[in-house]
Symmetry: C2
Subunit: 191 residues, 2 copies
């Protein structure tokens, strides 16, 4: 089956496409005007965007993600993209100078609108730590300073396949896929 | 004449009310569901909110403001409220440790929707510097670390009347008032 993903971020497309390939879901990136509200809740942001998408001939999804750092009360959270573009990785590392608690959670919410207008949201999370310095050149955003629990690499040191073993986005994508399989059994799961 | 201001921030109400008193405009705070989008542009945020307000029996306004710090590429900008609630003043001062360029601009945009459905936006700005430490207890948000050019006090060390001589919000409010006077000449200006 086909899933439209309303994003212009090619990394997101690649990660979701790879996570969904084994379900037989083909991901097609589309550009769409998205209504993106301000909120502390990624669910609220993604659901509002999905509700305001036009219905298409296949399910259409939006993804919203954020890095929530414990010692910074969840900052940068839903505004991770803006924070990355302004103070960036050096700014976040400066904020954590002298801070022992490096715990952080990467969260992804994928909201989908079905051709018949239903809207559902799926959440994926991965716990980890903020490194002392950036490592790696893959991925995007704060990947170079996020090391998931159980890994000895940052997201930016991993291939997309490795990242998808841990990542918030792959987890949300798989939850979406399971739901699509149950509700749109057009294509059977390929194991 | 009457102006509704859709906000739950009593400081904003007080500042706008005082700035508009001399125009004979009475400010009435109202609670309203506001559609607040993510954008780098305060105009876009305020105009979208105003367009989505229901029309009332008098003009109804929304205000959006942000502190744009030069050395931080405009951060925290439109997300000043969220940044204040998370990393706060200590976080912003930490980001500016060792940074000589302390220049910043406080920007306010007031968007108004008239009873006949017209929407207009008014911008006010004040240039200043980020202090090395917080001073004063008045006002709200980043007022304790913002010292406008030409003043020897931070906003948090000023009375509302003093702050209004400089402030972005008072400037936007006065621009709105001039427009209201021209377009709704129900009450003549009190000099």
């Amino acid at each position: 089956m086909k899933l439209y993903l309303a994003t212009s971020n090619r990394h997101k497309v690649e990660e979701v496409a790879l996570a969904l390939a084994r379900y037989g879901v083909e991901v097609v990136a589309v550009r769409a005007e998205k209504l993106e509200i301000q909120s502390r809740s990624l669910e609220e942001i993604a659901l509002t965007a999905a509700k305001n998408l036009r219905e298409m001939d296949a399910p259409v999804a939006v993804e919203d993600a954020g890095l929530f750092i414990h010692a910074l009360k969840g900052f940068p959270g839903p505004y991770s993209h803006y924070v990355y573009d302004t103070i960036g990785i050096p700014g976040v590392l400066k904020l954590l100078e002298g801070v022992e608690d490096r715990r952080a959670v990467f969260v992804s919410v994928i909201a989908v609108k079905t051709p018949d207008g239903r809207v559902e949201a799926f959440r994926g999370e991965v716990e980890g730590n903020i490194t002392r310095e950036p490592r790696g050149t893959r991925g995007f955003g704060f990947d170079p300073i996020f090391q998931p629990l159980g890994a000895d690499k940052t997201f930016a040191e991993m291939s997309v396949n490795e990242k998808n073993e841990y990542s918030h986005r792959a987890r949300a994508a798989r939850a979406l896929a399971e739901w699509l399989m149950k509700n749109f059994q057009a294509t059977s799961r390929i194991e």
